[in-house]
Amino acid sequence: MSESDRFEPLIIGFTCNWCSYRAADLAGTSRMKYPPNVRLIRLMCSGRLDPTFVLKALAGGADGVLITGCHPGECHYLEQNYKALRRYHLLRMLLTQLGVEPERVKLVWASAAEGARFAEEVGRMVEEVRRLGPLNWPAVAADGGETVAVQTPNGGHAHEGEPLIAIPAEQEVTP
């Protein structure tokens, strides 16, 4: 595939006003380069992220959503990023059930000092979503979620006493 035919995903990025938005500012002032596929929305906190925002973005034409917030323990509102984390794991389960690859939505921690990390994560996310291809939500929605096997941590049933949300192995969580 030539450079011009290459699939260019559109990604909506949600940033926290105090950390990741400033990380994006820092990436800018440091003149770091990252692909222009991500369009950012500023929220006051990752805790403000209503999962509906993500669904709205995916339904509205985005191929992926990048959620960014302060590192665990460094939230400017003390602990609200943990609430974002909780919702994120539920949201990924929901996406799977809707037939959307959960990898299209990613949660990344980036402090205000981590402009380089922010730029790097954007680049990585763009590559990952490029590999997944276009989302094409109307087709997914029409298909009723059959395109992706429903995978829940314990084979589809929440057994008593077992945690409902398993933290995926690839997700770094350092509380």
Partner: protein, 690 residues
């Protein structure tokens, strides 16, 4: 604030202003094309005028916006330029001057997020257009807002009576406002009161500290509550209600003259682990040191014979006052105070050197911590300032001082404790001066910035102190040859000569790291602020706002914010005081109106949101069966807005409608800038759950 969400997109007359920022933006983004596109293609979205200009933030640029607001009747403004963190206030003021509510202005960052990070002109221009479309869609849903105005109670609470708290309290009290100073220990003074000399001038710590302590104790504007702790904090900036536990001293401070006869007569001698760092003794009724402020003693009930066995009362019997000042029946008291601002100056704890067993502290008698050595060479200390070994008589002939114990070490604390280099140099000088011993300093890097510090280092070098560069591997008493018998041997790789050395010494001093207080997390939670991963309180901005916190009305000073020396601590104490005095002078404070509010008619009373707020802004009204949000406590994070299953909570400046509209705008163009076939939009005002 609690207006119901609008269900249809409001009609707006929007002006779009695209900044060149010289060549900063225009060098990469085709700004003229962007402005042209916005004027034509976004006309249906309410854009009535779109302009580009060299420097929007200049006076002329701002006047352009102001003129358009007046002449074109603009009701919304979108400025596509730099980050809102740079110039949002600038453009809000411009709107305000032209009579438009400042919150009806939205900034789109096409410099930090576009021209500075992308190189392809076409792609960058397409992204700039999409970002502006997002801003235009969003701004239509903006509502005029008024800043929240809260009155400021002129009384300030200072927590911690070390040098930071003392400085802050005196500055505020001297400017004529009341201060309540709370200290956990029986006396103010903090760590500084334990020190002997202070670097680099070698002033005696007590000589410069005690006058300030006395000033605090006698200041008409300062209410001093020692042996007291903050139990609970309610309220918000301007009017905090603080509950303070005043622990029972068992001494009536109304009648006590501080004569000290009770201390003299008390038959129980206890090792003083706090002030004397375990090197000296105190009585069961005691004051930490003779110059203590206040002068009143306290009874340590754990060691007091009367409290343990029901008899003795020597202190009471010998008390010369009438009536007797010793009161065994005294109880803890809970005091309620109202304050407008709070300064936290809670200080640090010393690293526990037992955590590094190979350094022998706690096992080898003549290995001392830095704080123990401070007491050892203090003229008012247990040895009267004689630097001697644990036997109390032998003067050391060689002394090793190890830097960075527990700091700059990934196993313990990765940060630099700032003061250890200078403190170790001071110790080296004092050992030389008092004993004439050979002194070895083991350092990783010598860090002596700030005024007169490096000069002090040069002076100590000239005094003949030995410096060995390398991290000490082991401190041991296992001799390998007769010359090491009876000595403590320091095993170290001297990295400057590239070989292992074993240096036998008589005494070792460990320059221990400064660590956050053991209960820092708990205290942070109580006051609604946060700790960094290292455990220090987090400031609002590390450079530009080092003494404020993210919680309005809570300030931090001194080592609670991070390791620092006395000059920096005093500066921070004064800085925090200046911030508070500024607040008090304003009498009222305007808060950003980014707040959540509950639409009572929609609230089902499910209380899901009730436990989500770390600022205790959300409470349930039992009588009405609905939840309420206190706008002055709310910090505007929006977590509750996202959580409400009924969509009953709205967040100003970040409402669902605004974010939904922005998403739609951002996705109006595809990657290459071509319009996208629009899907049927989700109803914007639909509750948060499908």
């Amino acid at each position: 604030m609690s207006t119901a969400p609008l269900s249809r997109k409001p009609q707006a007359r929007i002006g779009v202003y695209v900044c060149h920022c010289g060549s900063n933006i225009a060098g990469v983004v085709d700004v003229k094309e962007v402005a042209r596109w916005a004027g034509h293609e976004l006309a249906d979205e309410g854009v009535v005028i779109a302009r580009d200009y060299q420097f929007m933030c200049s006076n002329l640029g701002q006047e352009l916006i102001e003129a358009d607001i007046k002449e074109q009747g603009l009701t919304r403004v979108v400025v596509a330029a730099c980050s809102p963190h740079l110039h949002e206030a600038t453009f809000r003021h411009a709107c305000q001057r032209a009579g438009l509510n400042p919150y009806l202005c939205e900034m789109v960052s096409i410099r930090e997020q576009v021209s500075w990070v992308h190189t392809d002109r076409e792609q960058a221009t397409a992204k700039a257009k999409a970002l502006i479309a997002g801003g235009v869609e969003r701004v239509a849903w903006h509502e005029p807002l008024e800043p929240l105005i809260v009155p400021i109670n002129p009384t300030t609470l200072v927590v911690g009576g070390g040098i930071a708290g003392i400085q802050a309290a005196l500055e505020i009290a001297d400017s004529g406002y009341p201060v309540i100073l709370v200290e956990r220990e029986p006396s103010i003074g903090g760590h500084m009161a334990q020190f002997d000399k202070t670097f680099p001038t070698l002033d005696c710590a007590a000589c410069i500290l005690t006058p300030k302590m006395v000033a605090v104790g006698s200041h008409p504007n300062i209410t001093l509550l020692t042996y007291s702790e903050v139990e609970r904090v309610d309220g918000y900036v301007g009017s905090f209600q603080v509950t303070i536990r005043k622990k029972a001293r068992y001494v009536n401070t109304e009648t006590c003259t501080g004569c000290g006869l009770c201390i003299e007569k008390c038959p129980v001698r206890v090792v003083d682990e706090v002030f004397e760092a375990g090197l000296g003794y105190r009585k069961a009724i005691y004051r930490p040191f003779p110059q203590a402020v206040p002068k009143y003693p306290v009874i340590d009930t754990v060691h007091c014979t009367y409290f343990q066995r029901g008899k003795c009362k020597a202190c009471q019997i010998f008390c010369p006052t009438q009536p007797k000042s010793i009161n065994f029946e005294q109880k803890d008291e809970l005091i309620q105070v109202e304050v407008g601002n709070i300064i936290l100056a809670t200080g640090y704890d010393l690293f526990d050197c037992r955590r590094i067993p190979q350094y022998g502290y706690g096992r080898l008698a003549n290995v001392y911590t830095s704080l123990e050595f401070e007491r050892l060479c203090n003229a008012a200390g247990p040895t009267g300032g004689e630097v001697v070994l644990r036997d109390g008589v032998t003067r050391p002939k060689t002394v090793g001082i190890i830097h960075c114990v527990g700091s700059r070490d990934s196993k313990y604390n990765s940060y630099c404790s700032v003061i250890c280099c200078m403190q170790s140099l001071k110790f080296a000088h004092l050992v030389k001066e008092r004993t004439g011993a050979e002194v070895y300093n083991f350092y990783i890097d010598m860090r002596t910035p700030f005024k007169d510090y490096d000069e002090f280092y040069q002076k100590v070098l000239a005094e003949g102190v030995h410096f060995v560069r390398g991290r000490v591997a082991e401190v041991t008493d296992a001799a390998r040859h007769p010359g090491e018998e009876g000595k403590i041997i320091i095993q170290v790789e001297d990295t400057l000569i590239g070989r292992q050395r074993r240096i036998p010494v008589d005494m070792v001093i460990l320059s221990a790291a400064l660590e956050p207080r053991r209960d820092a997390q708990e205290v942070a939670h109580k006051f609604g602020i946060a700790c960094s991963t290292n455990g220090w309180f987090i400031e609002k901005h590390p450079k530009l706002d080092p003494v404020a916190t993210m919680t309005e009305g809570i300030f931090i000073a001194g080592c609670a914010q991070g390791p620092k020396d006395i000059p920096a601590t005093v500066a921070q104490g004064a800085a925090a005081a200046a911030r508070v005095i500024g607040r008090i002078h304003q009498t009222h404070l305007a808060l950003e109106p980014v707040r959540a509010s509950v639409i009572a008619e929609r609230c089902s009373g499910c209380r899901i949101c009730n436990n989500l707020c770390p600022f205790n802004a959300i409470s349930f009204r039992e009588d009405l069966g609905v939840t309420e949000i206190n706008p002055a406590l709310c910090q505007g994070c929006g977590t509750c807005v996202a959580a409400c299953p009924a969509g009953a909570i709205t967040g100003t400046q970040f409402s669902n409608e605004q974010v939904f509209a922005q998403i739609e705008g951002l996705l109006m163009l595809d990657f290459s800038g071509k319009p996208v076939r629009r899907l049927e939009p989700l109803a914007a005002a639909e509750p948060a759950f499908f």
